[in-house]
């Protein structure tokens, strides 16, 4: 997601139509990130709306020295993590809803893996899902994730490693890789 600096400045100046253009050009990426953290379409839509309310209120305070896309992703991740935390406290079960419609790949093996993994992400426990999405999909550091989630870097790594292992198991159960239990024991 790349947002032209000129568009950001137009929005900050309150130019007519600029905010709408910003939303049009970014809402799919923002929704995708939020969906991957909260795990279902209905909640992701609500949180995405909340993200843009926060952006609307906070954009004038946005410092131009930071990358706008990074800032927007940070606002989105923060809103999604806050939602997940509140939902967990309320005892509401996390039901992965219908699987999203995904664009079909070009047949390459890696793209097939990505599609499978996208679906597998929705089945992870939400604390593991948030960590692996932010680290391995969006490239955050464990330290950043820990700060954002209010936990330690070590706790983030534990969740991350479990999530990666579980996703590898999902690939194995889908027949993409050979399951560990079927491999010859070597030591």
């Amino acid at each position: 997601m790349q947002v032209p600096q000129q568009l950001v400045e137009s929005v900050r100046r309150g130019e007519p139509g600029a905010f709408e253009e910003l939303v049009r050009s970014t809402h799919r990426s923002v929704y995708s990130l939020v969906y991957r953290i909260v795990g279902n379409a209905e909640d992701a839509a609500d949180v995405t709306q909340d993200v843009y309310l926060r952006v609307w209120r906070g954009l004038r305070g946005f410092r131009g020295d930071a990358n706008f896309s990074t800032w927007l992703y940070r606002v989105a991740a923060n809103a999604a993590l806050t939602f997940v935390k509140r939902r967990a406290r309320g005892g509401v079960p996390t039901e992965p809803s219908e699987l999203p419609d995904l664009p079909t790949g070009d047949g390459a093996e890696e793209r097939a893996d990505a599609e499978l993994l996208e679906r597998a992400l929705a089945t992870l426990p939400e604390s593991q899902r948030a960590v692996v999405v932010l680290k391995d999909v969006y490239g955050w550091t464990c330290q950043e994730i820990g700060k954002q989630m209010g936990t330690t870097e070590g706790a983030v790594k534990v969740r991350l490693f479990r999530a990666r292992q579980r996703l590898a198991d999902e690939l194995a159960s889908a027949g993409v890789v050979v399951p560990l239990k079927k491999r010859k024991k070597s030591s």
Binding site: W56, A168, L180
Partner: protein, 135 residues
């Protein structure tokens, strides 16, 4: 080191998330273990696939764009309030909701502290009034 001791560290090894000394031990093991090497390949495939996930977009539900624009269109009053209040009312409500346990604990501590201070004040005042007058 045996496989069952090494395997919990393999997901961290593929991402370069282990301490160097731990990574060295894992590297030493997988250099001679075909089973763990295969597991590493599987985990690498996960990492490669996840990196590609970012470029994909999940299709948002129909009407989401319109709902976002409608909600933000209702917001001009907040922009007027913004210079006056350092936060929006919704944000304050959310903050209270998110930290209600902490706020309740702090309120409890404040009540206990106030009670203790009052008791101390009463005790000091009582002891002063009980002192015999000196001439």
């Amino acid at each position: 080191m045996r496989c069952h001791q090494i395997r919990p560290y393999l997901p961290g090894f593929v991402g370069g998330d282990l301490r160097q000394d731990t990574a060295d031990i894992v590297a030493g093991h997988i250099a001679t273990c075909t089973s763990c090497t295969a597991e590493i390949a599987s985990l690498e495939r996960v990492r490669t696939g996840l990196a590609l996930v970012a470029a994909r977009e999940v299709a948002p539900p129909a009407g989401l764009l319109d709902r976002i624009l409608e909600r933000t269109a209702d917001q001009p009053a907040r922009r007027v309030l913004a210079p006056v209040l350092p936060f929006a009312v919704d944000d304050l409500a959310r903050l209270v909701s998110d930290h209600r346990d902490t706020i309740a604990s702090a309120a409890g501590v404040a009540v206990v502290a106030a009670g203790a201070a009052y008791a101390l004040w009463r005790a000091v005042r009582g002891s002063r009034s009980a002192e015999p007058a000196t001439s």
